[in-house]
Symmetry: C2
Amino acid sequence: MAGDFIPTQPIYLQLVQRICKQIVRGDLSAGEKLPSQRDMAIQVGVNPNTVQRVYTELERITVAETRRGQGTFVTRDEDRLLRLREELMGSYVAAFLGDMREMGFTLEEILRSFKECETLGLSHE
Amino acid sequence: MAGDFIPTQPIYLQLVQRICKQIVRGDLSAGEKLPSQRDMAIQVGVNPNTVQRVYTELERITVAETRRGQGTFVTRDEDRLLRLREELMGSYVAAFLGDMREMGFTLEEILRSFKECETLGLSHE
DNA sequence: ATTAGTGCACTAGAAATATAGTGCACTAAT
DNA sequence: ATTAGTGCACTATATTTCTAGTGCACTAAT
């Protein structure tokens, strides 16, 4: 019932990231309606006010748009979604490589570790 | 003065992670003394109580050990530090690949993105 | 014995996050 | 006009994190 969240980071940010991932993945398409604040709150097991903050944040980063009385929708700007995909990819990769560099790991070690995880279902196409 | 922290995660956890990275990287060696709680607090610009929590956590995960009246030291167990290196590598890689999979990125896309960041100083040795 | 340096325990408060609950304005459908 | 569904604003409270301050016990050096 409660979409599990880690307690060390604000729930609303985790939910923003989760929705962004769903968009990038294609589970949510441009223009698609998001659940109402009340419904989403029930679905993920948080307070409606928290969802309100999530949707406000999604609107701030121009990933969603709100039509009062109708609901909140994924932006219809498909270019924006393509940029979101590039932005997320870039930020996750940069953060990961930064962490690895801070710990002194070499690219060879990283790639070797990738192969150990490979069996767990990362697509190759 | 204040070692910059992101506001969305507890400072004490960020400091734990930072110290673990320094150990894995080799900037801190087995048995080496950490700064006193008071000194570390001044160095990173936080309250001594926060450092107290950091050192307690480092001791809980058996990465540091405390000698009352003397200070807190990196564990002298070098095997433990080797395991720490493997643990951190594994968890960071697993989290990263999990995020990538959630967003539907393929291994090829990841590797391509790596090459774009490669110029920014990741070692190849 | 005294002193300095250390970890540690404790209380209190500030700040941010999350929850709880209510109400209002807007939109669409009837 | 009425109704249902929606976003949005508002107040209040709980929880967690962080800060602030004090004091004590232990260790080593003098």
